[in-house]
């Protein structure tokens, strides 16, 4: 029963996204990738295989992340603003069901966008006879898990603050979590024990989205796939953060007057 509810809600999000032409951004980017790869082809890319792959993976990671943040952070505020929320919540579903369904919808859209972009990038690179190692599949899988965390965070922030503030917050955390953690570690030694605990808490709470980026390994050739336990640990990390973010959204939204 719950699965049917989540599927129906997520399907509506995907349909809306396609018809709203959100995914056109992906098509335009894909086109740009193909055109730019064509331009690179004019100069020949002999010996530049790593550079081209690095560029492709970076573009792929960057744009799929931006798209995921933008989609996830507008999901709930739009429901409230457009008042489409009322007929939904008049059905025998809970507010938690709504959050989960909408977040799954955002995840589905960001996955579609990412896989489309990946397919187009792959097509462009294949044109130059660039080879793909098996780790590329792991890169895609890990990135998709990362998008789950990003979407969960985006929805959670959007229930706590305005959509623009939520996007900004999300971008800061997604792109800056590694830097923030590094800064915390550097400052750790010179702080009081109380502040050290605060730093530890922040460090634990900060989602390390960069962990899901296996792009570095995928770019350089002859890297063997990462062990399965690493992928399992990433999946667990994703599940924990998704549950945490969804719980946070629910805590804020469950008694919010509509």
């Amino acid at each position: 029963m719950k699965a049917r509810v989540y599927k129906a809600l997520a399907k509506a999000v995907v349909l809306e996204s396609i018809r709203r032409k959100d995914l056109w951004v992906v098509a335009i980017l894909g086109f740009l990738i193909l055109v730019s790869s064509g331009a690179l082809g004019l100069f020949g890319i002999g010996g530049l295989e790593i550079f081209v792959k690095d560029l492709a993976v970076s573009v792929l990671g960057l744009f799929s992340t931006i798209l995921a943040v933008l989609i996830a952070t507008r999901m709930m505020p739009e429901e409230i603003k457009q008042r489409t929320l009322y007929p939904l919540l008049a059905r025998p579903i809970t507010r938690l069901d709504l959050i989960i369904g909408k977040t799954l919808g955002a995840i589905a859209v960001s996955w579609i966008a990412f896989l489309l972009l990946a397919a187009l990038t792959g097509l462009a690179l294949a044109g130059f006879h660039v080879t793909f190692e098996p780790i590329m599949a792991q890169y895609l899988l890990a990135k998709m898990m990362g998008l789950v965390v990003i979407c969960g965070l985006g929805v959670a922030f959007s229930t706590l603050m305005t959509p623009s503030a939520a996007s900004t917050m999300c971008f800061v955390i997604v792109f800056g979590s590694t830097m923030i953690s590094r800064a915390l570690v550097m400052a750790y030694e010179s702080c009081s024990p109380l502040l050290q605990w605060v730093f530890k808490l922040i460090d634990w709470a900060l989602p390390q989205v960069s962990l899901f980026d296996l792009g570095g390994r995928a770019v350089y050739m002859h890297w063997s796939p990462v062990p399965m336990w690493v992928m399992g640990a990433l999946a667990l990390y994703m599940a924990v953060y998704f549950a945490g973010a969804t719980g946070l959204s629910w805590l804020k939204f469950r008694r919010q007057p509509l």
Binding site: K7, L15, Q82, Y86, P87, R91, P92, R255
Partner: protein, 303 residues
């Protein structure tokens, strides 16, 4: 028998932008029996929508309670038996009516195929079958209201809660809606709706509740109210206004008097007096009272 709606000492308040608590509903209590059609009236800002939102569980009361068929408002058990039409009908702009209703049907618990079938049937009921595959964003306000009415009827609910039900509908649409609602009532559905359209209330309701400043100021059966508001008008020709005759009267033309009696008994008495005084009866008429005037009078009295 368990009441379809049971509201006891309901209080709802909102926090203003300045941070103050603003009361919207103040100690409201009423009941609606299963199968009844009850109109919920009141001027803008009286607390009607807040009450309906509390019934749907969209806002949490700060005191009191609402129960629907014995279940707490907002619970899944209650929501399974309710159809709700929000005040401003907004539906996903990039979905079609059939997709919209299928989505709600699936959330209601139907399988995908059954939900689509039910959606198609309801679109036919509200006369939207030809626009079933157009995007919601291309539909007029009235058509969107029909989508809203169709979604509220999904799953044949035992109770329909409708906020400003006739909003955006043309006269033909209103007539069709009345027929749909009457038909649902014949099937045993309870109807509770807010409206500014007193003519709709007059034609549909068994009972009205009038709300002002968050409090109930009047609760009347519509038939009893109509009886109270009805006037029997006797027009007669005579030399002068007859003394001691019941009712209010005045001279409308030269030696033609118009007498307004509030009951049939008064009318009979007046007829006897006119005959005894050798007056000539010109016309007897039964005039319906104006619900609108009564509504305004009630609000003024309360103020």
């Amino acid at each position: 028998m368990t009441a379809a709606i049971d509201v006891q000492d309901l209080r709802v308040r909102y926090r203003s932008k300045k941070g103050n608590w603003v009361p919207a509903v103040n100690g409201l209590s009423f009941q609606v029996a299963p199968g009844e059609i009850v109109g919920f009236l009141g001027p803008n800002g009286a607390g009607k929508s807040s009450t309906l939102k509390a019934l749907m569980g969209f806002v949490e009361p700060c005191a009191g309670e609402c129960r629907l068929f014995g279940a707490p408002a907002g619970s899944l058990e209650a929501k399974k038996r309710i159809g709700y039409l929000p005040e401003v009908a907004m539906y996903y702009p990039f979905l079609t009516p059939i997709e919209t209703l299928t989505l709600y049907g699936e959330l209601q618990g139907f399988g995908a195929r059954a939900a689509r079938k039910e959606a198609a049937t309801l679109l036919e009921v509200v006369g939207l079958q030809e626009s079933a595959k157009k995007l919601n964003r291309t539909l007029s306000k009235g058509m969107l209201q029909r989508v809203g009415i169709a979604q509220s009827l999904l799953g044949s609910p035992d109770l329909l809660i409708l906020d400003e039900v006739t909003s955006g509908l043309d006269p033909v649409g209103r007539k069709e809606l009345r027929e749909i609602l009457k038909d649902r009532q014949r099937q045993g559905t309870t109807l509770f709706f807010s409206s500014h359209e007193l003519s709709e209330v007059d034609m549909l309701c068994d009972r009205i509740l009038i709300l002002d400043k968050g409090s109930l100021i009047e609760e009347r059966g519509v038939e009893a109210l109509k009886d109270q508001l009805r006037r029997y008008v006797l027009k007669y020709h005579g030399p002068a206004m007859i003394m001691g005759i019941p009712g209010e009267g005045d001279e409308s033309e030269d030696h033609v008097f118009e007498l307004r009696c509030s009951t049939k008994e008064d009318l009979i008495l007046a007829l006897e007096k006119v005959q005894k005084s050798y007056g000539q009866i010109i016309d007897i008429e039964s005039r319906e009272g104006s619900l609108e005037e009564y509504f305004i009078d009630t609000l003024e009295r309360a103020a």
